[in-house]
Symmetry: C2
Subunit: 390 residues, 2 copies
Amino acid sequence: MIKCVKCGEVDGIMKAGYVRGKQRYLCKLCNYYFTCSEKDDSAQSLLRKKRHQTTIIDIAKSLGVSNSTVSRALHGHADISPDTRQAVLDKATQLDYQPNQLAYNLVKSKTNTIGMIVPEFHNPFFPNVIIGAHDILTKAGYNLTIMQSNESYQVEISNTKAMLANRIDGLLISLTQETNNFDHLSVFEKRGIPLILFNRVCEEIDVPKVVVNDFEASFLAVEHLILNGYERIAHLGGPLTLQVSQERLRGYKAAMEKHGKSIDDHMIIQGMLTQQKARIYGQYLLDLADRPDAVFAVNDSSAIEIMLIAKEKGISIPDELGVVGFSDNPESAYIGPGLTTVRQPTLEIGRTTAEWILQLVDSEDLNLHERKILNTELIVRGSSRRSCVL
Amino acid sequence: MIKCVKCGEVDGIMKAGYVRGKQRYLCKLCNYYFTCSEKDDSAQSLLRKKRHQTTIIDIAKSLGVSNSTVSRALHGHADISPDTRQAVLDKATQLDYQPNQLAYNLVKSKTNTIGMIVPEFHNPFFPNVIIGAHDILTKAGYNLTIMQSNESYQVEISNTKAMLANRIDGLLISLTQETNNFDHLSVFEKRGIPLILFNRVCEEIDVPKVVVNDFEASFLAVEHLILNGYERIAHLGGPLTLQVSQERLRGYKAAMEKHGKSIDDHMIIQGMLTQQKARIYGQYLLDLADRPDAVFAVNDSSAIEIMLIAKEKGISIPDELGVVGFSDNPESAYIGPGLTTVRQPTLEIGRTTAEWILQLVDSEDLNLHERKILNTELIVRGSSRRSCVL
DNA sequence: TTGTATGCGTTATCAG
DNA sequence: CTGATAACGCATACAA
C-alpha cells in the first residue's frame, strides 16, 4: 500500500512510530524516514485542541508584566506594589484563573494531600473514622484521598504504590487481614513520608499507632458476662493474623482465668467473620451438647447473627444465652432485646490519626509519638442483662 | 574569583541560576554558560538532597542512555531493543524507581482521578455509593478522591474549587440541601470536565443524572399503607429545596389522591430531619387530636425516631400506627417489629455514575446520557403489616 | 519593586 | 532504535 516517498518502493516499508498523530514509516531499502500525511487530519486535530486553561503566563502577558510578578501577587508575597497586585488579582478573576495544583505540587514536591487506606467499607467503623480524619484535615487545608484494600494484601500493595506515585504527604493505613509482610510500608520510611497505623496495626514496623484498648475492653466485656452469671462463654474471634483479634482473645482468656472459668478450645473459633461464616460457626456453637450459655463476638454483625440463630432455635436471650458484640453498630441498639457491645471512639480515632499526621508532615520529627490507646465503652443492653442474677 | 572556563576572563562573569545543585555562571564576554564545581558542595548538596527520589534521569545516567529511552522502555513503547528495555527495567527496580505521577499528570494534563463530592457521611447511603463507584473506577485504573460538603453550600463551592485545582478528570456530585445556585458547576462544563449529578440533582444544569424512582417509590409506599387499611397518613418529608424531597412528596400526594384520601396540610411536615427535628415533629404528630394512624418518613432514621416515640407513648405498631421509611438502613431490619422501607440500589448508583463518568472521560462525547432512573424496592416488614386487614 | 532564568520529572516531537 | 530538546505551569533565587 504505502510507497516510499524517496525510492518509490513498497517492499521495504515498515512502521516507525508516530509523529504528530501521523503514522511514521521507514523504508528499509533507502533507509529513509517519512510520514504519511493523508486523511483523518480533521478528527485528530479536533481531538487535540483541548481547551486552554488560563495560566499565570496568560495573566502576565495581558498585563505586560513578568510571570514571577504575577506569581508573587497571587501569593500575597511582600515587595509587590499595591497597584500591580490589584491589577493582577483583577485580571485573574477576569480571566477566571484557577491555579494548577499539579504544577505547584511538582515544584514544591508536596501535594497537600493525606492518603488513607482502609481494608473495607462495609461496617460503619471506617466511614466514621474517615469522618473524623476528614474533619481535621479539611480544616488544616489538606485533602484526603481514600483507597480501599478490600482485605487483599495485593490490593494493599498496589494502593500504597499509587499513593507513592501520587506523592501524598502522609499516609494513614489500617492493614488487611492478609498482610504479614511490611516491605511496602518501610518504603515510606525510606522516602521520609510520614506513616501512621491505626486499628489494624503491626509491631514489625516502627511508626506511630492509634488503637483502642482491645484487651481491656474484651476483658471487661467477658467479665460483665461472668458477673451476670454466665458460665460457659464462647468466643467468636477474628483472624489471628490481626493484632486486634489477638488482643481481644487475650482479654477473653484473662477474664475467664481471673474468674476461674475453664477455657475450652472448642468454645473458641477464630476466623474471618463473613455473615456466612458467622452463621456456620454460630450454628455449630449452639448445636453443641455442652452449648455455651454466652458468646462474646469480635464484631456486632457476628453477634447479631448469633442472636438470629438463637431466635430461630427458640433459645431465649438473655436468659438462656448471653451475647456481647464489639463496635456498636447502629442496628445493635435496635435488635431485640438490644445487643450489649463495646463502643469504639471512631471519630476520635480519625481525628487523632489526622492530627498526628499533620504534626509529622509539618515538623519532620518522625519520633514524635509512640502509640495512642483510646478508650472504649461497654454499652450494656438486653442481650447480656440477666434479670435473675445479683 | 570565578574565571570563565572558555575565555579565562573574570570581569564579565555573572551568576545564572543553578544546575543540578551546582552554581551556574554566564560569561558576558564570550556569552558562555558553565557551572563551577568547586567547594560548598557538602552543605548545599546536603540541603538540596532532600531525600532524592530516583527519577528517570538517574536511571538514564547510570545506564548511559537518554531519558527518552528510559521513558519508552518503562512504558513498553515499541521500537526498543529488548536488551535496552531489560537493562532499564532492571535498573529501575534496583534503584527502586517510582514514577512521579505529578510530573506525568502535568505533561498529560490528566490525573486519572475522579472526584466525588457528597453532602454527608452519617447515613450508610453515600458510603455505599462510594463502594460501588470505587469498585468500577479502581478496576479501570482510576483513583477516586472523595470530599464532603457537609450540607453546606459554601463548603461545596470550596470543594469544587479544590477539585478544579487538582485537575480531576471528572466529577461525581450530590448537592447539599442549601445549593440553589449552580455557577460553581457550570465552570466544569466550560472547562470541558465531565460532570455527573446523582441522588441530589437539579434541573438547572444539563448534565447526566443518576437518580432513583422517588416518585414511584413513594407512591407505592403510601399505597401500601393505604392497602393495609391506614387512613390518616402523615408525611415527614425532607427539605423542599431538594428534588428528592419534592418527588417523594409528590408520590405521597398522588397515592393519597388516587385512593380518595384527604390531604391535610398539618399532616405534612417538611424540613431537614436531624434526629432532634425528627423527634420534635414526631411528638407533634403523635400528640395531635386527630393523630395520624400512619407515617411515611423520608428516611429511616426519622421513621425509627417515630417508632421510638410511639413506643414511649404506648402506641402499638403496626396496629395503631403504621410506619414506612426510606433507604433501608441496617438497623431498620432489626428494630421491632421491623421497619417497612424503600431499599435504594446504592451500589448500583455508585457503579452507574462511575461507568458513565469513565465513558465521558474517555470519549469526550458529553451528550452521551440523559438521566438514569434506577429502581427501588419496597421492603415490607412489621411496622406496616396489619394482621387485621385483607 | 520587577524581570530573568532555571528546575521540578515526564512525555512528545523531531531528527538521526 | 536512540538521543536532544521542547513543552507542561509554577515558584524562586538572583540580578537589575
